[in-house]
């Protein structure tokens, strides 16, 4: 039956063509001599830490092209789940590991070390046309964002005398993000406690868009997004009880911008740390991160602090 043969041939050709596309990229895995590092390093975790880790992985490619470094963005919690199952070598985290996650690691016999890699500042932002705010206190922020404010604090005038009698429009990250967890903990005193009637988006660019087009808007997100959108937004200084501090590279790094700055981490699995390529990668990470952190919008730790992290890591590497 000619017709059928042709049809089958036709299907085979389509599939064949398509699979050729995939196969052209076959690489020879056996290349590489004794000295070059090989293997693979799986990293997953926080989307906040991702830009740093991605940049380091990119640079690491230059010195160790045979090592396959992959980075995922399952979020801090999702990353720790995989880490506790021994599925990843390194976990990116925008908060310290929780007790529950520690237990999960212990159950599976996974040891780890926590390394601080940079600081992230949370910025409170308003529209550039907003001329009545020069700073907000932590109490005022709490008054705006706490759960009890829902449906009650609806106007600027309720926050401080002299503010206009206009509706306030709030923007913030979605409840699944580590940024939200951190902000609520720092401002409202309890992680995950905030009013629900605000515009939430996991995509910070949406928040930038919202605040920059709304004179009566107010929102918060990572300092990196402000740095990229300086012309569209106005930064609000925060008074945490010791005077008004505006978040800058300097105030975040020296710890005066409180309570809205936090350290971010990577966690290294002890089994993975037995592998040469992982040790090389982590050392490379700590060496390069001061420079990279600035470049992707985060704030480097003081140099002495990095030296401590290197020491901590080297003490952690299992001796054979």
């Amino acid at each position: 039956m000619k017709k059928t043969t042709k049809i089958i041939l036709g299907v085979a050709v389509i599939l064949g063509l398509a699979s050729c596309g995939g196969n052209t990229e076959n690489t020879d895995e056996n290349s590489g001599d004794e000295k070059t590092l090989t293997g693979s390093i799986k990293i997953d975790g926080s989307s906040t830490v991702y830009p740093i880790t991605e940049a380091i992985a990119e640079e690491f490619r230059e010195i160790a092209p045979e090592v396959k470094v992959t980075v995922g963005v399952s979020g801090t919690g999702g990353g720790f789940k995989k880490f506790a199952r021994n599925e990843t070598a390194i976990s990116d985290a925008s908060r310290p590991i929780k007790d529950k996650e520690k237990v999960a690691c212990e159950e599976n016999g996974i040891g780890y070390v926590q390394l601080e890699v940079a600081y992230d500042g949370l910025a409170v932002l308003i529209n550039p046309a907003n001329d009545w705010i020069d700073h907000l206190t932590v109490e005022e922020l709490k008054k705006i964002w706490e759960p009890a404010a829902q449906g009650v604090i609806m106007k600027w005038s309720q926050i401080r005398d002299g503010f206009p009698d206009e509706e306030i429009h709030l923007f913030g990250p979605g409840v699944a993000s580590g940024t939200y967890d951190y902000f609520t903990k720092a401002i409202c005193g309890e992680e995950g406690a905030s009013r629900g009637d605000y515009t939430a988006s996991e995509d910070d660019n949406v928040l930038v868009q919202g605040i920059s087009t709304d004179k009566y808007g107010l929102g918060f997100f990572g300092l990196a997004y402000y740095e990229e959108n300086k012309d569209k937004l106005k930064l609000v200084g925060v008074d945490g009880g010791k005077g008004v501090v505006t978040p800058t590279q300097a105030t975040v790094a020296d710890g005066t911008y409180q309570p809205l700055s936090r350290p971010i981490f990577i966690y290294v699995n002890d089994k993975a740390a037995e592998r040469e390529e992982v040790v090389a990668f982590v050392n490379f990470y700590l060496e390069l991160v001061p420079e990279i952190a600035q470049e992707v919008g985060y704030i480097a730790l003081p140099a002495a602090e990095y030296a401590k992290q290197v020491e901590k890591f080297n003490a952690f590497i299992p001796k054979k």
Partner: protein
């Protein structure tokens, strides 16, 4: 106003309403494409196609994402095509109209409406963990295959149904067995419809992000998969990742990657239309 006039007005206004409805979707698509082309078209060049992911928007490319997408596409097709067509043939040609068959039918129709994230969770538990495939291309492809199986099965059945029963009866009357009838008459006559279903389902699969993220597709993968067991990323994940970055350069990249993804989808749909027309014309009884 007479009744006839009134009716004419109603008639006319419904026509206008219909036209508005028709153009609504098209207009949205046109706006989307216009915006994206304005923002991203200039960014597409050979470097963009062959570069690896990077923190510098100007240096970043979609090579590994495109390769990942092609791998997933091919594997998903290879897995889902035979299974779905086989199931479709069974249900349409062999299955007796029993309670079990109608139960199967209802379930398949329902499966087509299950949110894709659910398939992702299923794939994570079964393929990634129980089968131990890890976050590999194969695990992702199996998951997407599950996702599109019901769609292809339904399309296959519709295509088989469209073959006139007189042809089947004639074939049987000539002494052909059931399988001979299906292989020589029913399938060739319906293959255009079956393939259309397959390619449309695959087009849907390449746009899926959620199930693949759950299964373990990664954001930063600096190498193209070289076997079904390698880690991978796909274009929608790359686009999503870029859209959420603060630097403006990345949103340009995202727009450019969307153009490439749209092109791939349009080409796939084009192929579907081509084969459908080609094979439908050939069938002459």
């Amino acid at each position: 106003m007479t009744n006839a006039q009134k009716n004419r007005i109603i008639d006319k206004s419904f026509q206008v309403f219909g036209i508005v409805c028709t153009f609504f979707g098209l207009a949205i698509l046109a706006i989307l494409i216009y915006n994206i082309v304005i923002e991203g078209a200039a960014r597409i060049d050979w470097d963009f196609m062959k570069n690896l992911p990077s923190r510098r928007p100007q240096k970043a490319g979609i090579f590994t994402a495109v390769m990942g997408t092609i791998w997933v596409l091919v594997l998903t097709t290879l897995i889902s095509f035979p299974i779905a067509v086989g199931a479709g043939i069974y249900l349409e040609e062999y299955a007796k109209k029993t309670k079990l068959a109608s139960l199967l039918e209802i379930n398949i129709a329902n499966l087509a409406g299950v949110p894709s994230i659910i398939y992702g969770l299923l794939g994570l538990e079964i393929f990634v963990r129980i089968f131990g495939l890890g976050g590999s291309v194969l695990a992702g492809s199996l998951t997407l295959s599950l996702l599109i199986l019901p769609i292809i099965i339904v399309a296959t059945r519709e295509a088989l149904k469209a073959v006139p029963s007189s042809i089947k009866d004639a074939s049987m009357a000539m002494g052909a067995s059931k399988w001979q009838t299906i292989w020589n008459q029913t399938l060739p006559a319906s293959i255009g419809g079956v393939l259309t279903g397959v390619i449309l389902a695959i087009s849907r699969a390449i746009g899926e992000t959620a199930p693949l993220i759950v299964v373990g597709a990664l954001a930063y993968v600096p190498f193209a998969p070289s076997s079904p067991m390698d880690e991978f990323t796909v274009m929608p994940i790359q686009i999503f990742n870029w859209v959420s970055r603060p630097q403006h350069g990345f949103s340009v990249n995202a727009a450019a990657a969307i153009i490439v993804l749209l092109l791939i989808t349009f080409i796939m749909n084009g192929i579907a239309v081509y084969f459908r027309n080609k094979w439908q014309k050939k069938i002459k009884w």
